[in-house]
């Protein structure tokens, strides 16, 4: 059998794609460790690529086995080029010498809490580091009032600072993952220039407003801390969650339930498809599903885990429509390549992206192994299938993300499998209920109040279990910093 293992046999079309995607991604990842200025490295890359294409072509003509090797090199280089093509936006960081005035537009929904609002501002400014004009996204922190809105055009006079490293947390890297290269705090002057305009911008604003109304409607009928948990599991809004509860979630390895993980998004999409699309034909379901997924991605601010799950779900729905099932590895890689092409910095800097893909890989590769192990120990089939799957999925996903979490936060949660078993199965119910509470509260306040009473036990159950498990001795391990 091993005799037949040659390059030829690996060339199953769908595995070629797997290979190419992996190489492409590793090219981008490698490039992220080598920060060369695009201007200097561009000719090298181009020449390298041309040389490789030539070599590959010659080898193709000669039917040489080295063909493959060089083609692979080419793909790695392409990955690196994808990274450097975005160079201008991500490196070097944007700073100004002293105060400057720049005009631009608010490109995300401002994040407002009790004391301030944070918004991402896109503008064209002179970068003091590179000595040239460049388009840049800046994170602007303003007082709570006056409140600004998505899409508004402003003129700001301020010092643009470089994001700093806080308590060992690479804030600059984190922001780079969002293509943000500079920060502005306490601007000297902010002038309103124009209101939001443009078709797509208006639609996005409407979607943001919907999510805001929804959150407000929830907040009117559910008390804290349940309200912030509800907003977290359905819309991924984390800013209202108290530090204590956040740390309890971390200790129990349950942060993913409030982070709009792929799990949550898949449930939301499944709910929608079951709710609306049963009455429609396959084709109409597909288009409506697509529209809903897009709207949901925009509404929740297009964070990595949502985008990943959305791409994945869209392809699954598409597969259903045309009656084919995709290879899970490839579906995952399509999502990854698409996202990296759009923003290559996420592969190194966006923890959400990394965790989302690792967890998913864990589900695909590790969970079946755990299932077999459980079967081996449970010879008499005492454990029901539901719990067997839940346990295997939890263990698979948690095992896959554990090294990264240890690296980033210095913690390992030993209680996590138990916590996930006890909590995760209830999350879908809590999500459906939260959705109905929000909708009914928007329609008729007293109805929302009644619905909230039904939702309350679900949320309280999660809170009680999380707080209780976080207090268990030896629940988690914190590496000394």
């Amino acid at each position: 059998m091993f005799k037949r293992l040659s390059w030829k046999n690996i060339y199953f079309p769908f595995r070629i794609f797997t290979l190419i995607s992996c190489l492409f991604l590793s090219g981008t990842l490698l490039a992220s460790f080598v920060n060369i200025d695009l201007v200097a490295s561009w000719p090298i890359l181009v020449f390298g690529a041309i040389a490789l294409i030539l070599v590959a072509f010659i080898n193709f003509l000669l039917k040489n086995k080295f063909l493959a090797l060089f083609s692979l090199g080419l793909v790695i280089l392409l990955g690196a080029m994808a990274y450097y093509a975005h160079f201008d936006q991500g490196f070097p960081p944007c700073t100004s010498n002293g105060e400057i005035t720049f005009a631009g537009r608010i490109v995300t929904k401002p994040e407002i809490d009790y004391k301030q609002q944070k918004l991402v501002f896109e503008t064209e400014i002179f970068n003091a580091t590179t000595q040239r004009n460049q388009s840049a996204k800046l994170l602007v922190t303003l007082p709570r009032f006056p409140q600004y809105h998505f899409g508004e055009k402003l003129e700001i006079t301020a010092v643009v600072e470089q994001p700093v490293i806080l308590d060992g947390f690479d804030y600059a890297g984190y922001l780079k993952g969002k293509l943000i290269t500079g920060t502005v705090r306490n601007p000297a002057n902010v002038t309103f220039v124009a209101a939001n305009s443009g078709f797509g911008w208006k639609i996005a604003e409407d979607l943001y407003d919907t999510s805001t109304y929804f959150e407000q409607a929830l907040n009117r009928v559910i008390p804290e801390p349940q309200a912030s948990l509800a907003a977290g599991i359905l819309l991924g809004i984390k800013r209202n969650i108290s530090d204590e509860f956040m740390s309890s979630l971390q200790k129990t390895g349950l942060t993913h339930i409030i982070a709009l993980s792929g799990f949550n998004v898949t449930i939301i999409i499944a709910i929608f498809m079951n709710l609306v699309c049963v009455y429609l034909g396959k084709k109409r379901s597909f288009w409506l599903g697509l529209l809903f997924i897009l709207a949901f991605v925009v509404m929740t601010g297009a964070c990595s885990s949502v985008v990943r799950a959305a791409i994945f779900s869209m392809m699954l729905i598409f597969g259903k429509t045309i009656g084919r099932r995709g290879d899970q590895t490839n579906l995952m890689l399509v999502a990854a390549v698409a996202m990296v092409l759009a923003n290559p910095f996420i592969i190194r800097s966006d923890l959400g992206f990394q965790l989302s893909f690792l967890a998913f890989a864990g589900l695909i590769y590790f969970s079946p192994i755990f299932e077999k192990i459980i079967d081996k120990f449970d010879g008499h089939r005492v454990v029901s299938d539901f719990w067997k799957h839940s346990l295997a999925e939890t263990l698979g996903a948690q095992l896959a993300v554990a090294p990264l979490i240890l690296l980033q936060f210095g913690t390992v949660s030993f209680i996590s499998p138990a916590a996930n078993l006890l909590v995760v199965f209830i999350v879908p119910y809590a999500m459906i209920m939260t959705f109905w509470v929000g909708v009914s509260s928007m329609i008729y306040y007293p109805l929302g109040k009644i619905a909230a009473l039904l939702l309350w036990p679900f949320l309280e159950y999660i809170i009680v279990i999380v707080n209780w498990l976080a207090r268990v001795p030896m629940a988690f391990y914190q590496a000394v910093k």
């Binding site: 309200a227 209202n240 199965f425 119910y429 109040k449």
Partner: protein
């Protein structure tokens, strides 16, 4: 149908767990409860009886929301009375959060002039929601519960539509009384204002108006917030200092603590004890 059964089963399971945790808690004692919330460096207190509430200040951030969620009955989304002692950020920011989320029956404050963004937001919230705004005169009283009332002791409507150099001194001072016991709330009123108040009540021969078992120590236990004359007349047993751990002002001040100890008061601090709760019923005052 199978899904519905599943849903009902999960619901019952959850309810079972919760009922169990509820039962394992201590039984509730009848009477009014006063909570001094642990909201960091700021003031927020709640007087509650059944589903009736009086919220006094909201602290410097949104922590008050979780505190309210924890102590208010499930499904109660109305706070009947909201009192703002004075419009400083460490008293008002949380109230703005509460106004956004809860129905509020009425707002009571001094009407002093301030143009801070938090206060403008507060006034705007009240206006858009059509909440009645009351400025009590000296000696006015409200009865939030059948056997509980609040007497407004100071400064009346003196500062209505007026500016004041030190907003602390515009603080509403008031006393909550049930059948047997009282608690006095002093806001951030500083020494000079307290002296004026005590002098006024001495002249009117009404010093007994101050007598309370509990005193909320003025201005987070700052050196300028505690006076001999007031403590003498309050004759309290418990002193509550609403203060944040490691705050930048060095509150509570040593001088204030010494004075409180001199009068033999039991000191409760929100930075050390967390949220402080008192139960006031016909048998007296019970701290926790």
């Amino acid at each position: 149908m199978k899904k519905l059964t599943q849903f009902v089963l999960v619901f019952l399971l959850v309810c079972g767990v919760l009922i169990f945790t509820e039962i394992s808690k201590k039984p509730e004692i009848a009477g009014s409860q006063i909570y001094f919330f642990d909201v960091g460096q700021g003031d927020a207190a709640l007087i509650q009886e059944g589903d009736q509430q009086v919220l006094i200040d909201g602290g410097p951030d949104d922590k008050v929301l979780s505190e309210l969620g924890r102590v208010m009955p499930a499904g109660d989304r109305k706070i009947e009375h909201m009192i703002l002692t004075h419009p400083h950020a460490d008293h008002i920011v949380g109230l703005n959060q509460v106004l956004e989320r809860y129905e509020v029956g009425e707002v009571i404050s001094t009407g002093v002039v301030s143009t801070s963004s938090q206060y403008l937001e507060f006034l705007n919230n009240i206006k858009t929601k059509n909440i009645p705004f009351k400025v009590p005169k000296v000696g006015d009283e409200i009865a939030p519960f059948t056997d509980g009332k609040i007497d407004f002791l100071w400064p009346g409507d003196t500062y209505l539509s007026k500016e004041i150099d030190n907003l602390n001194n515009s603080s509403l001072v008031f006393r909550f009384c049930t059948v047997m016991s009282c608690a006095i709330f002093t806001g951030d009123a500083e020494q000079d204002e307290q002296e004026d108040m005590v002098a006024y009540y001495a002249k009117e021969n009404m010093l007994s108006e101050f007598e309370s078992k509990i005193i909320k120590v003025a201005h987070h236990g700052s050196s300028n917030g505690t006076t001999d004359s007031l403590l003498q007349n309050v004759k309290a047993i418990h002193a509550v200092i609403s203060v944040g751990a490691d705050n930048q002002f060095g509150h509570p001040h040593e001088a204030a603590l010494t004075l409180l100890k001199k009068y033999g008061l039991i000191i409760h601090r929100t930075d050390q004890n967390g949220t402080v709760r008192f139960i006031l019923n016909k048998d007296g005052v019970f701290p926790e």
